[in-house]
């Protein structure tokens, strides 16, 4: 009886192939936090309302709290921990969150940054209003969203300008 509740899940997490037994009822949030100590993945509601647990699965953002761990089989998962360079260098979007004072308590920050990564990697240019909509799956009670918007927009423009030069 008990064995049936566990299943081996093999997936790629932050570029590395990983394997672990998970409770079939566990969420991806649980697996990432408890089995892989990826504590950037935060729990704010555990029902997909706040966006604090957001991660990128095969290039697309998901609230990992309402994504079963067993669904991760064969998937490529990225969390905030993957963004730093080999010597801990910050990515441009992380630096922008610091520079634009877009961080306060910091609890919603990892989820927001991963949505920003999805937006930035699309290579598209969005208006401020479009960015608001794209980021609206995240709740933040500290910042009023203002500086988060600035951080994402400035990074987007910087990346687009760089691509243009290339």
């Amino acid at each position: 009886m008990a064995d049936k509740q566990y299943k081996l899940v093999t997936c790629t997490i932050n570029g590395v192939r990983r394997q672990t037994m998970v409770d079939v009822r566990a969420s991806l949030t649980d697996m990432l936090r408890n089995d892989y100590q990826l504590t950037s993945v935060k729990k704010g509601c555990e029902v997909g309302e706040c966006g604090a647990c957001n991660v990128i699965i095969d290039g697309e953002c998901y609230n990992s709290c309402i994504y079963l761990a067993v669904w991760a089989e064969g998937k490529n998962i990225r969390t905030l921990e993957s963004l730093m360079g080999p010597s801990g260098e910050l990515s441009d979007i992380q630096q922008a969150f610091i520079d634009e004072t877009a961080v306060q308590c910091g609890f919603c920050t990892p989820g927001f940054i991963m949505s920003a990564v999805e937006i930035l990697e699309s290579g598209k240019e969005y208006s401020r209003d479009e960015l608001r909509k794209l980021l609206s799956g995240h709740l933040c009670r500290c910042t009023g969203y203002e500086n988060i918007l600035n951080a994402v927009e400035k990074t987007m423009k910087k990346r687009l300008a760089m691509n243009h030069e290339v």
Partner: protein
Amino acid sequence: MEEKGSVLGKSVKRVDAHDKVCGITKYTDDLCGKSLVARVLHSTIAHGRVLSIDCSEAEKIPGVVKIVTCFDAPKNYFPTAGHPWSTDPAHQDVADRLMLNEHVRLYGDDVAAVVAEDEVAAAQALRAIHVEYEEYPFVLDVQKAMEDGAPQLHEAFPNNILKHTSIRNGNYEEACKEPGLIKVEGWYDTPTVQHCHIENFICYAEMDKGRIVVTASTQIPHIVRRVVGQALGIPWGKVRVIKPYIGGGFGNKQDVLYEPLCAWLCTLVGGRRVKLDCTREETFVCNRVRHAIRGHIISWVRPDGTYAARKLELFSNQGAYASHGHSIAAKGMGAFPQMYPCPNVDADSYTVFTNRPAAGAMRGYGIPQAMFLFESHTDDVAKAIGMSPLEFRQKNLMPVGFTDAFSKNVLYTDSYNQCIDKARVYMDYDRKYKEYAQQEGPIRRGIGLAAFWYNTAVWPISLESSSCRMVLNQDGSVQVQVGETEIGQGADTTFTQMTADTLGIPLENVHVISCQDTDVTPFGTGAYASRQTYVAGFSIHQTALLLKERILDYAHELTRMPTAILDIVDGMIVRKTDLQVQMSLEELAMEALYSLSHSEHLTAESTYQIKSNAYSFGCTIAEVEVDIPACRATLLNVINVHDCGRLINPALAEAQVHGGMSMGIGYGLSEQLLFDEKTGRPLNNNLLDYKLSTFMDHPHLEAEFVENYEPTSVYGTKALGEPPVCSVAPAIRNAILQATGVAVNELPLNPHNLFRRFHEEGLV
């Protein structure tokens, strides 16, 4: 005052931002590791008594370790408010709490608790517990709860009145008989709302050598230690509380929540680690909420726009338990005779128990409610006497030199008018006010103004004291500890700037220890009352000077120069007379620690008791577009302007204002916790149905400042944490009034409430 090259007034980056953008900042759940899991069983009636609880089925569930019920809980009544202990028993907080309750007073009260090996077993056990209740009638409305014959929540408080206080200035009854006065009267109402920090309340407890160690997401670790001791009936020194980084607090965590229950459960399972992690649904109902306050105001005004007499009644909905109690309504009422001084004022405030969630501290502490009442009424008065809301305010707002006899607070500068003038310019207020004066048609615009009153810290109502410790390291850097807590607002960063400035060392050589531990952090009462920079400023300044004196004494030994001509500049010991560098602080620290002739660990520790506080004023101007047939108001433009003294870190200050404005917009337009009238059950205690402001719900948030150096503060600073939320909702309400001519006196200003009023006024 500010010196050239000072790090004060500079927008240095947050000291904790790097770790937060990397996801390596550790919050309570990140630190907990493997643990037992505690869950609480909540009542499914709003009022009644638990007759029996059958745990027999639940106990059979594999993984269940322990189940306790309200019949097992110790009967040590304790208070929960995050107030300093009062040495005067008459001034102590109401101790009406037990860890689990036989007499349940709200839908969601705590009646039993399960400790299990994992979440699943705990959840299954909760479902398998059977509770038999005797149901009592319940009451949700604050004024109905005061009526004779209303359901009684607490025996010691007849008519459910927790407290009633009054202000009697001059002679209201006589003054309102003056001939020619215009009477303006209104009722105003604010809803129950919740803090909605993104990290829910969480704590875990474990035993260590006979003591209980509680790690909690709290704003007030030293107060939690005291209350856990009170609740468990054990000496306070047997409790150690650790406060790591927290995912927001906003006042909810300025209350003792489930720390006592978690600590007690830990003692029942042999001291094993027990974690109690609230769900979002529990956070809404079983933590604290903002007091819903209803108010009745009568103003007697002369045709020239001066007040002859004023009367206020406040009815503050306390919910089921006392928590911060009457302090909130009292603070709100206290603003009434001060903001618009009038010689004849009668004011009464009542804090009343009802069968709703317990109300406690929330950002602004009664002032957002009071400002909605007072500033809505201010526009109503201006309209009644045919004066513009701006001119009426300019005529009546607290004048420079105003002194409050109780707090001894003085308005030193013309903050109100300076802030309003700055906001007017940004918003092009004067032109828009005229332009929007006469409108017809279904879509109309309006512009509204509201000011706010706030005072920093809690002196003289309560103790104000701050303690600081500084320790010099081998490399010339220092550790700094204070009892004031980082809760996301950026306190650690401003403390770093203050220390660097006063000690004369580079910012990167200041290490503020963010994690608080009641075993090692100097005593302090925590984060509340927008007091962090103000009160910690005194002890940081005093302690830095003390450490500096010790460093220079040691430098005197090494250099043979008198201390009077020595100073520390940018981490160097400098001879002031010729600015010659004598040695680096690092060289001095190494010598001091390792000298074979005179070894000394250079440290300093001191307490500063603060016996002052400071007004912190400002305003909001909001521009709205109202779609009358849709009964919808859209915020187009908004600005807050604050005078919070000298800005220690302008970028952080601006960010703080954004967050407060956002909370104010939610309060104004969308947020309310709803209850089923038939059962008392909360209807929308989740982030989908409770309409917290999202990215889509506000326009650009403009935050500006007027910087008048606060003369009572050692760094010229005063309250900013709470003030930004205070004047937003009434400004929106007043903008809707200008657009439509309709006074909507009940928050939130959502389509439901607008429809009711537009319908009454014949607009729809």
